[in-house]
């Protein structure tokens, strides 16, 4: 190979390696990108981070919308976990309080975390939570049973064709995550 083509090869290889590194970074950039897209579109039933900045509604609409409540333990979790009301009917803009119960029947302390999901997906962004037990981890003593509340309302801009929506919570056992994190902190 001549000198010129050798240096041309070098600069080409440098560009290609740069592309490789860039695409590796892009793979990781898809994580926050995906979260942003989910938040904007309600894709995947994500209700987004609404712990802050949700205003109490000012007016109440005419329509009646059915909101159903589901609860499920994810694999490896076996708390008694369920909704106290299977469903409620609400007007858009009306603040409603419902509750779930959870019971730890083990003889040791456990930590649970509930992850919400809304179906249909496009309804997710109209379900606004003012308070929710899913905002915190739930630490339950052996045998302890708790009632956990949700204060929510349906945004008035919800499209006409949505008459029923389902809010589902999956409960995860994060006891080990806690202890492993604590172990890391101790070190």
């Amino acid at each position: 190979m001549s000198k010129t083509s050798r240096s041309a090869t070098k600069s080409l290889v440098r560009k290609l390696l740069f592309t490789v590194v860039g695409m590796f970074a892009f793979g990781f950039a898809m994580v926050p990108l995906y979260d942003v897209i989910c938040d904007i579109t309600g894709l995947n039933g994500k209700t987004g981070d609404q712990i802050v900045a949700v205003q109490e509604p000012t007016s109440v609409g005419e329509r009646l919308i059915t909101v159903q409540f589901l609860a499920q333990n994810s694999a490896g979790m076996d708390w008694g976990f369920g909704a106290n009301d299977a469903q409620v009917k609400v007007h858009p803009g009306e603040v409603k309080v419902v509750s779930y119960y959870a019971k730890n029947s083990h003889n040791y302390v456990m930590t649970g975390q509930a992850i919400p999901s809304v179906a249909p997906n496009e309804a997710a962004q109209y379900l606004k939570k003012l308070e929710c037990f899913c905002f915190q981890e739930q630490v339950l003593q052996p045998g302890e049973q708790v009632e956990m509340g949700i204060r929510f309302f349906i945004d008035e801009s919800i499209p006409e064709h949505i008459t029923k929506l389902t809010l589902s919570y999956s409960l995860f056992d994060i006891t080990d995550y806690e202890s492993s994190e604590a172990a890391v902190t101790l070190r």
Binding site: M1, S5, A8, T9, L12, V13, L16, L17, T19, V20, V21, G22, M23, F24, F26, G27, F28, M30, V31, Y34, D35, C38, T41, G42, L43, N44, G45, K46, S74, A75, Q113, I115, A119, N121, E122, S170, F172, D173, I174, Y177, S180, E181, V184
Partner: protein, 528 residues
Amino acid sequence: MSAAHDDHHHGPAKGITRWLFTTNHKDIGSLYLWFSFAMFLLGGTFAMVIRAELFQPGLQLVEPNFFNQMTTMHGLIMVFGAVMPAFVGLANWMIPMMIGAPDMALPRMNNWSFWILPFAFAMLSSTLLMDGGAPNFGWTFYAPLSTTYAPASVTFFIFAVHIMGASSIMGSINIIATILNMRAPGMTLMKMPLFVWTWLITAYLLIAVMPVLAGVVTMMLFDIHFGTSFFNAAGGGDPVLFQHVFWFFGHPEVYIMILPAFGVVSAIIPTFARKRLFGYDSMVYATASIAFLSFIVWAHHMFTVGMPIAGELFFMYATMLIAVPTGVKVFNWVATMFRGSMTFETPMLFAIAFVVLFTMGGFTGLMLAITPADFQYHDTYFVVAHFHYVLVPGAVFSIMAATYYWLPKWTGYMYDERLGKLHFWLSFVGVNVLFFPQHFLGLAGMPRRIPDYALQFADFNWISSIGGFLFGASQLILLVVVIKCVKGGKKATAQVWEGAQGLEWTVESPAPYHTFTTPPDPKLIHAQ
């Protein structure tokens, strides 16, 4: 000194070190091809286990967990160990000779990119012997199956994928550098053979998506060992994210496995039709369009995860759009054959079978692209039939066609045409008996990746397994043909095939260890 120096450069070194330390593109091409064939037999053995278990309903031969390990390892080894290295081997052998270059641009990296592969696959295969068994989560390794619920051997799988990725990336950088910088004077881009064109585009696809694959397995590694929650819902992650990142790699990956096949077929059909390739320019643009579209259709693999309707429509139409450039290619091949003086030697038989059967696989792909229909077909044997039709009589047939086509150039001898034709016909019948009934199984609702099934699926599974055994056994004929041809036979001429065009046919057969150390006469370079 100078005489010894010359000796050293005119022939290969002797013994095992020739293969260990070689930087010669032809040696490395042969290594890749032999390695790929070994992996083809290993992955094929796993497929035989799968078909033997599915021969009749009930659990006869293997445990369900071992069955899952077989489907996973079969997929991984065939995709990353058989099809991809075979095309890289063909690229190594043929691209420098096709563009009139003395060797690849980065010969030492070339050696390295091959020699890390056996380690990757030794590591991956060794998981079969480990406690808890090999990966059992399917070749698509969806989280959380591959993270929370994975066997302990998943870490070996992750590092094996890292090494395979590094090998592919190095191979692609080498191919791009060779094609862009090493072409002989007069070999302009639009005079390059289509095999070179399709590989140039494939190499760019590899560079774009293999790092994403490396990224996704790295995230898995972090989730498994370092307590992160990329894909763990309990920690705020999302398993569906895995599918998006995986298929962002995975869809271009399927074109990585088929674009070089298009190049091979575009070389073979004109030779045996004794006509120029019809629509060369449109072939180049069609290849580039397919490559571009492959980046914006990934979510058609996951219509059922729950997507907004706008997303489903976008991915449905974008997917269907791929049929347009692919159709251009199929019509060009047919137009090349139209009124040509065709003869039907083994490479041509494989190439024609490719055109017909790949098109069928393309049509089932179109059926799967229809979102509402996909909800029915998703994760059934219909999907299995679809991707095996595009990969086996598609990619694999094209590799076999290429082997028969260039074998006389590699060995200097003609292969046994009678055995070659026998291999073709047994493979052709076998592959259709094997995969065609799987369409019916899928439409009737048989799910993929299960070791046992309901009784109504028994007959078609029985037929499919018989086809599988026939197809599997007939691949040994290929091994016999290649070994016979390496050992001797009728001497091949430089041009080998009457209608063959291109620089690789201007050097003698077998191709000397070093070719085009001085650039070829520009007059030899034909406009395609």
